[in-house]
């Protein structure tokens, strides 16, 4: 199963989602490979804490400079999780459709899940990242710019995806990230319902804004190993990807004494 994690604009949490969902699936006993397809810019390695182990990258594999197993980096904690880093020396235009297709077919044969961390927007890199995917998870933040750009990206996937061209359906889901419940309650932020109504796609998960994500990225220890609200959200999304029916948790602002105290010190 090849899943592309994409978005309309940058900075919505694609790489964070890719890293945590890849770990989540590996923790459920699946063989997973996470590919950083943001050619020219590397970020997934930092989030996974694997930046010091990179020798070869995804372009090296496609160009035949090395064999696939040489480029795959094993995760620190999960022996069933592998990582294929983005190239830094090349730009996004280097990708060739046939080579991308061959690589993804090769990975698909070896792994239960291939997670592609796609570049944002509608450049060629994005197209290559979604062309051969079975499914797409569109990461959206409840903001006007993110929702608008996501709609554009969804349209492009519908028009260009190989699955669609083959007469099949490319399953697409929305992941709403960085939700701030206190703003939603004050009606200062788009609600989940608003976002879903506008984009007209099924929901795969709701992830609250979580300050702990910053320190997780700082240290290269993904949040999913903790019991933080966003970690629990990613764990639930993992189960949904595996076909489990997990109820959606609505985030409420904490009321009562502790909430009031928190409000004082926030």
């Amino acid at each position: 199963m090849v899943i592309t994690i994409t978005s309309g604009k940058g900075g919505v949490g694609k790489s964070t989602s890719t890293a945590n969902l890849a770990i989540g699936l590996a923790m459920q006993g699946k063989r997973v490979v996470a590919i950083d397809f943001d050619i020219g810019l590397r970020n997934l390695d930092m989030i996974l804490g694997l930046e010091n182990r990179i020798v070869y990258d995804v372009v090296d594999v496609m160009e035949g400079n090395c064999k696939l197993p040489q480029a795959l980096i094993t995760d620190k904690k999960n022996k069933d999780l592998f990582f294929l880093p983005a190239s830094q020396s090349k730009d996004k235009n280097i990708l060739e459709k046939s080579k991308v297709q061959a690589l993804i077919a090769d990975l698909k044969a070896q792994f239960d899940f291939v997670l592609i961390d796609s570049p944002a927007g509608i450049e060629s890199g994005f197209e290559h990242a979604m062309l051969f995917a079975d499914r797409a998870i569109v990461v959206v933040t409840p903001e006007v710019s993110s929702v608008r750009d996501s709609d554009r990206v969804i349209g492009i996937m519908d028009a260009k995806s190989q699955k669609v061209k083959d007469g099949q359906e490319m399953v697409k889901h929305i992941l709403i990230n960085r939700i701030k419940p206190e703003l939603v309650e004050k009606q200062e932020m788009l609600s989940n319902e608003d976002v879903l109504k506008i984009l007209a796609l099924p929901l795969i998960g709701l992830v609250p804004e979580d300050p702990k994500i910053i320190s997780a990225t700082n240290t290269g220890e993904p949040i999913i190993y903790t019991q933080s609200p966003s970690a629990l959200a990613f764990q639930r999304i993992t189960k949904r990807i595996l076909g489990e029916d997990v109820p959606f948790v609505e985030f409420k602002t904490k009321r009562g004494l502790m909430g009031a105290l928190r409000g004082l010190f926030a």
Binding site: E51, S215, N218, T219
Partner: protein
């Protein structure tokens, strides 16, 4: 900065982030020149014509729009001949 954060400065996640970024960027900014080894040997040969040395360190860096080549030659201590 409060006292507490001062105590834990070495292990704070921002501190770890800073260290990781420094490492990664130092590596990424280093330019890998194909002729580096060859050039090192030649520079060393020239220097050795005049003075004893065996240690040479050449670093190429690229940051913003400036590329630099830093050559560090460690000279051996001259033993005074009387």
């Amino acid at each position: 900065m409060t006292l507490l954060t001062k105590w834990f400065k070495g292990t704070s996640s921002a501190h770890i982030a800073k260290d990781r970024l420094k490492l990664v960027l130092a590596y990424e900014r280093s330019v890998r020149l194909p002729y580096m080894e060859e050039m090192k040997k030649e520079i060393l040969a020239v220097v050795q014509k005049y003075i004893h040395t065996s240690k040479i360190d050449v670093r190429a860096n690229s940051n913003h729009d400036i590329d630099t080549l830093e050559v560090e030659i460690v000279l051996e201590k001259q033993t005074p001949t009387s």
